[in-house]
């Protein structure tokens, strides 16, 4: 067996990521997704600046089923990145680094993301 054939550890194809590692990579993925959301936001503001027809078209696109699905996805990504970002800020000042606490705060982030996303859409759709 040559050196290059040896398995690496942790090898991503055979290694089941622990919860905290999974949450870490999801933080990065939601961050990249939200950059796309920011570009969409700039386009939406641009539509408002271009005038009523452009704004009406943008609003209709966002209110369509596909538009709603995209916005729902950005809502999930936003709340996850916000809450997990706050978790990171606690770590930055040295709090909650214990593995038991890190797992618990990770579960709290996931649960709060679901609750806040549902609440936001319940309020938004009722208006």
């Amino acid at each position: 067996m040559s050196i290059s054939d040896r398995p690496l550890s942790p090898h991503l194809q055979v290694y089941r990521l622990p919860l905290v590692a999974l949450l870490s990579i999801v933080h990065r993925m939601t961050g990249v997704a939200l950059v796309g959301g920011s570009v969409l936001l700039a386009v939406w503001l641009g539509a408002a600046a271009f005038g009523a027809p452009a704004f009406a078209m943008a609003s209709a696109l966002l209110a369509s089923p596909l538009g709603k699905l995209v916005l729902f996805g950005f809502t999930v990504a936003y709340y996850y990145h916000l809450l997990n970002g706050i978790r990171h800020l606690f770590w930055d000042v040295g709090l909650g680094l214990d593995l038991v606490v890190a797992r618990a705060s990770g579960r709290l982030v996931m649960a709060a993301t679901v609750v806040l996303t549902i609440l936001t859409w319940a309020v938004g759709l009722s208006l």
Partner: protein, 127 residues
Amino acid sequence: MSLRTSLGRARGSGAAKDGSEHWWQQRVTAVALVPLSVWFLASVVSLSGANLEQFRAWLAVPCNTALAIFFLLVVFHHGQLGMQVVIEDYVHNRAVKLAGIIGVKLLAAWFAIFSVVAVLRAAFVGA
């Protein structure tokens, strides 16, 4: 491939001097985005279904104009800092890496300027 150690090659080159600055900017923008993004999302949700006139009236309130511009500048700066780290971590070709980082920074600057201009136009210039 050089037989010199990494330390031997780095010695005498001086410190990079910009790593901690990037880290601090990411944290400060993250802290700012906690209230700013919550305010923005709450505003957008409360404006769901609004027509252009209602949206412009909301945007023209001085505090809203200022907060929206502040939010947009911080968002694109934070996003650009994060994308830089993602490119640095996953792109290993030096030329592609440099081109990617420069591209991300210029695009972020353009989208930030575009969205600020859009906010000002939508708020203050009639259709």
